[in-house]
Symmetry: C2
Subunit: 345 residues, 2 copies
DNA sequence: GTGAAAGCGCTAACAA
DNA sequence: TTGTTAGCGCTTTCAC
């Protein structure tokens, strides 16, 4: 905290210089809650400027019980990878932006799924936060400890990417159902009958939904689900290459592939090129997310776009609403995916 | 901030339940500064647990003038891209990790180079920060406003990636001199005589150093610097493709290319593949940074690795030292780049 | 070894 | 319209 060699400039210094009381200084600087005369107002403003006065947020926070700070709590299996993933980076960016515009600050706090929660509890009960945006990764009951902790502290909270089971926490979710379905539909619409799916880490709900909706789209189109055409392992990009290699070895290989995210798709694409398979003629390919690599890849990837920055901004809007709602209900938001047609399907 | 339906549990509640004064509660919970008897200690601890007491950080901060919070201020031309860049994501990750281990929290604050600084000034003078880690992007005099602001608030500060001119601010820098030189040396060592360089956005110091060191390495090896072999534009990945296309059109094309970062190198690589140029036999290629794409690309990129996470951790160590140093000198740190030999050179 | 109380800087209720 | 002052929750000095 600030440690000037001279004394810190306070409320009282301004009051003294302006020849008024500290209350008036407060009234002027906060534009209320009581009116002030123009003359006094001018004197206070002048004194504040002369002294280069900046109100102390800590003192103000102690008094008003508001910190104007929000934390982003993001759980993951590998907390050190969290912000390196383009996925979270996008959300983080939108969130910061949305908060900054309203004078709120963002604290970032990654937490490993098996990490002890006492440190987090300390942060949450500290009084230094006005609200929390959290990103759950695990399913119940594994995420119950975190959820219970957040519930117990009574802080306004918004869940991002998925809903918080058994709670009234509002959320910003992706319409995964439609996204996975439409990605598959797009391939079907191009006349493909043998469509494979490279799935993500099935510990993640999004991976499971995409897989399930892929199947549903096939069935709805009167196509059979062939388990041989379903492969994958984790979100590790290398698994995309592995899966594609596997698919190419099939006696009866697919003519199109829906990969659960762009990294997987991109790595699969590289394998195709290595084997001289022409994309999209010999093999169509669609990804998911629309991260930078999708545009940069040659050929550029067709993909289902998730509006990451928008998600972050929506989360910012929601948590601000929740902070000011004072118990009133805040409605959840679902963002839509969008088919981005490029050159691979 | 926490708003329980019941009253907040405070110091006094614990004191009352334990039958002691608030002073003793503080002594026990903070292990000092005065000793306490074992009996009293037990009673206080028990009462604190019974009431689920958590000290209020704001009140504590007001009293102690310490917040245990640090901000990462990162300037850039496009503030919305800041944390999406794998570069900053790595630094951010290391920084959070290093701070968390010492009970400090990180606030993130991107700032556009042409942005008005009053909002930032407010944050810095707020009293809510114990220190600042900043990443300058512009050169003097353009960065002077930011630098002057930070200097004037008297907060402990650490500069990351580059030094802060005309100031005693300690820094975590990369040994760019060696990095750019060694990358070029590596290509020379393989017998290449015509080596091109795809440079980055020359508004950035790192881009300029890499270019300059590339030239120096050539000269030191008795090779001529051919301006036709130097191209590039911005850090935009697409410029890597553009530059490589240009190089291939030369009557006398290079046999090796040093790209100023991995994204540029990767996009250049795609162009090579498109033209059927074999890498590394017909054209060797080396990148810089060692971001994920360098590993995932096929063939994987040879590159100069920057230890991003380590940089963040070093920055954390330095800012913590600066916060506790109380005016004493904190020495700067330089991290080394490392040649990662993969398949493109 | 412990209690009482001052005071960190601010806001707002109470008085005037 | 403005001044006085209590008090947010904590740490630490002063007194015992």
């Amino acid at each position: 905290m600030l440690k000037t060699n001279g004394r810190r400039v306070t409320n009282r210094d301004v009051a003294r210089l302006a020849g008024v009381s500290t209350a008036v200084v407060s009234y002027v600087l906060n534009d209320g809650p009581r009116p002030t005369s123009e003359t006094v107002r001018g004197k206070v403003l002048k004194a504040a400027k002369a002294l280069d006065y900046h109100p102390n947020a800590i003192a103000r926070g102690l008094r008003s019980q508001k910190s104007h700070a929000v934390a982003l709590i993001v759980g993951d299996y590998e907390p050190l990878d969290v912000f390196i993933s383009p996925y979270h980076a996008g959300v983080l960016t939108g969130l910061i932006d949305g908060l900054k515009q309203h004078g709120y600050y963002l604290m970032v706090y990654p937490v490993g799924v098996h990490e002890d929660l006492t440190a987090l509890q300390k942060l949450l009960r500290d009084g230094r936060l006005d609200g929390v945006v959290m990103r759950l990764v695990q399913d119940p009951p594994a995420n119950q400890a975190l959820l219970k902790l957040i519930g117990s502290v009574g802080l306004p909270c918004v869940s991002i990417e998925r809903t918080a089971p058994n709670s009234k926490i509002p959320s910003v979710t992706i319409d995964e159902q439609t996204g996975g379905y439409e990605a598959t539909r797009h391939l079907i619409a191009q006349g493909h009958k043998r469509i494979a799916h490279i799935h993500g880490d099935l510990r993640y709900l999004s991976a499971r939904i995409r897989l399930e909706r892929y199947k549903q789209a096939l069935l709805d189109a009167g196509l059979k689900v062939d388990e041989n055409l379903i492969c994958g392992g984790t979100w590790e990009p290398a698994d995309g290459a592995k899966a594609m290699t596997q698919l190419l070895k099939l006696k009866h290989p697919p003519t199109a592939v829906f990969a659960a995210n762009d990294s997987l798709a991109f790595n699969a694409l590289q394998v195709l090129r290595l084997h001289g398979v022409h994309v999209p003629d010999d093999m169509a390919l669609i990804g998911f997310d629309d991260i930078a690599i999708a545009r940069e890849s040659i050929p550029p990837l067709t993909t289902m776009r998730i509006p990451l920055i928008e998600m972050g901004q929506q989360a910012a809007a929601l948590i601000l609403k929740a902070i000011h709602a004072d118990g009133e209900h805040v409605t959840s938001v679902t963002v839509q995916t969008e088919l981005i047609k490029r050159k691979t399907a």
